[in-house]
């Protein structure tokens, strides 16, 4: 049974100045079964962020339905943890307090919050940095906090919008493997938005390709690469090479050029 089901999703934006209407998301439908890792890719401006924001409950869709475990989504909530491209950490809270925030909102007592936060900090490899403030961390470490903050509350779903886009290439590779390792332990259902075709294939069970605006689902591709995955294995996998070529062609990108 699918955990998330998106049906005939449609989003029309109205320009605040010219009052022109613009259909960003035309008609998008897809399902995510529980425990699956799904990537959403597509040309820039096709509405990937829009879809994710609707699932997160940040914006209300113009049309269609989004159901989580059979219930329509009516706003943001702790069952869907969001990892942001710009991290969106609370600057006035230490690493530990940032990570414990969701538990605090849920009314978990202090000792338990600390215990759980420490556990997650260990998991994402931030031990020793509990008392630091976000601005004292590097970009890669900040996003570890971003991921840990969501993991701490054990959400049903994790939503990530280009979480590694502002992180340097090397650290990005490391974080991708890290997140996969953690994901394999906890198995949350993930909706992952990215520009990066390689990243999408590497991380996901399935890659959903959106067409350009007004967008619809152009392709829905299973990734049959065995887990656990590491970059060196995946690069050598013939399935990776094949799917990559397929996706690149679909996005209209010539080979060896990342979708931008």
């Amino acid at each position: 049974m699918s955990l998330l089901s998106v049906e005939n999703l449609n989003q029309v934006y109205t320009d605040a100045y010219t009052h022109e209407e613009m259909t960003a998301v035309g008609n998008v439908s897809f399902d995510i079964p529980e425990g699956q890792f799904i990537s959403l890719i597509g040309p820039s401006g096709c509405g990937k962020t829009t879809v994710l924001n609707i699932v997160a409950g940040f914006i209300r869709a113009s049309g269609g339905s989004v159901m989580l475990a059979g219930k329509p989504i009516s706003g943001p909530g702790p069952d869907r943890g969001v990892v942001f491209q710009d991290f969106a950490l609370f600057p006035w809270k230490s690493v530990e307090a940032n990570i414990a925030f969701g538990l605090k909102m849920r009314g978990v007592d202090k000792a338990e919050r600390k215990r759980r936060a420490r556990e997650v900090i260990e998991l994402v490899g931030l031990s020793g940095f509990e008392a630091k403030y976000p601005h004292e961390l590097s970009g890669g470490m900040r996003q570890r906090v971003g991921v840990a903050r969501v993991l701490a509350t054990e959400p049903t779903m994790m939503l990530m919008d280009e979480p590694f886009a502002s992180i340097d290439a090397q650290t990005r590779r490391v974080l991708q493997q890290e997140v996969l390792r953690i994901w394999e332990q906890e198995r949350p259902t993930v909706l992952f938005v990215t520009h990066d075709v390689d990243e999408a294939i590497f991380m996901s069970d399935r890659v959903i390709v959106l067409s350009s605006r007004p967008s619809a689902v152009q392709a829905d591709i299973e990734i049959p690469i065995p887990r656990p995955r590491t970059w060196s294995d995946v690069y050598a996998d013939p399935a990776f090479v094949r799917i990559r070529r397929e996706l690149m062609a679909m996005l209209g990108v010539d080979d060896d050029e990342k979708g931008s």
């Binding site: 943890g81 969106a88 006035w92 605090k104």
Partner: protein, 280 residues
């Protein structure tokens, strides 16, 4: 597992690029008093050269002697005390009202629609422009002085709190909501701390304006206080009192900043990397 190295503190890298001259400025005593020593020296030089008649311009020596005399007679301390008390009362009310209204207008869209045009309207009526009507209503009283200060402190505070709330990154609010923060929790946990840079700069501006308004009010309404002293001295042709008044104003503001505002900012918004060191 690889752990990326933390970003080096900005202080450190700033120090590394500093030259010998700026190095000298880092010695605490010199950093604080050095610039003043230069100004006082120039002041003394001008007085010594007698470019202006002494009825118009007195040197630091004379000012110092007069200051000592005024302190011994208890006049200066009592005037300063009066001024500070007025400022504290006015600013206290001003900050409470400003913070409350700032958050109300910043957070509630109806309150904002209703009050924003009025805010701009009343802000344009400068503080001392209220004095004539206040004097008619309340006479030459402490109430008039206090009201002027409350008025001057409140407006910049409201406006910078509203601006502070408006500039909270949208994703911060979204993150809080998606982690389960309901409206009130979100306000307490996110809006208030995120608006702190706005609050602290608002208090800084507000207090600065309030302080000036106080002096103006004392000049017009005064029966005591630093502003009163300066204006009285002018009437009696005593320049040194005027000079003392000016020095006192600067010194008190400096003290307010060094003892209250700066330490507060250092512990909060600067510590969290939300603003660069203010004026340091």
């Amino acid at each position: 597992m690889t752990v990326d190295t933390p970003v080096r503190s900005q202080q450190r890298s700033r120090v590394e690029t500093a030259g010998a001259w700026t190095g000298l400025l880092r010695v605490p005593g010199i950093r604080t008093w050095g610039p003043f020593a230069v100004v006082v020296a120039i002041w003394a030089l001008i007085a010594e050269l007698e470019l202006f008649p002494s009825a118009f311009f007195v040197g630091p020596g004379t000012v110092f002697e007069t200051t000592v005399r005024l302190i011994e007679r208890g006049i200066l301390p009592s005037y300063i005390g009066d001024s500070l008390l007025r400022l504290a009362v006015g600013a206290g009310f001003g900050v409470v009202i400003g913070v409350a209204l700032g958050f109300l207008i910043g957070l509630n869209k109806y309150a904002r629609k209703f009050s924003w045009p009025m805010l701009l309207f009343f802000q344009a009526i400068g503080d001392i422009a209220w004095l004539p009507i206040l004097i008619i209503w309340f006479g030459f009283s402490l109430t008039s002085v206090t009201l002027v200060i409350v008025y001057t402190v409140t407006f910049p505070l409201i406006i910078s709190i509203v601006a502070g709330i408006d500039s909270i990154p949208q994703n911060l609010m979204r993150a809080a909501a998606s982690l389960g923060a309901k409206r009130w929790r979100g306000i307490v946990e996110v809006v208030v701390p995120a608006a702190l840079p706005g609050i602290s700069s608002g208090i800084r501006t507000g207090l600065g304006y309030g302080w000036r308004a106080l002096i103006a009010a004392e000049i017009i309404i005064g029966t005591s206080g630093v502003g009163f002293m300066m204006f009285e001295a002018r009437r009696q042709g005593d320049v040194s009192h005027v000079f003392i008044g000016m020095v006192v104003l600067g010194a008190l503001w400096y003290a307010t900043d060094a003892l209250i505002l700066a330490p507060f900012e250092k512990e909060t918004v600067e510590r969290w990397g939300m603003v660069e060191g203010i004026g340091r």
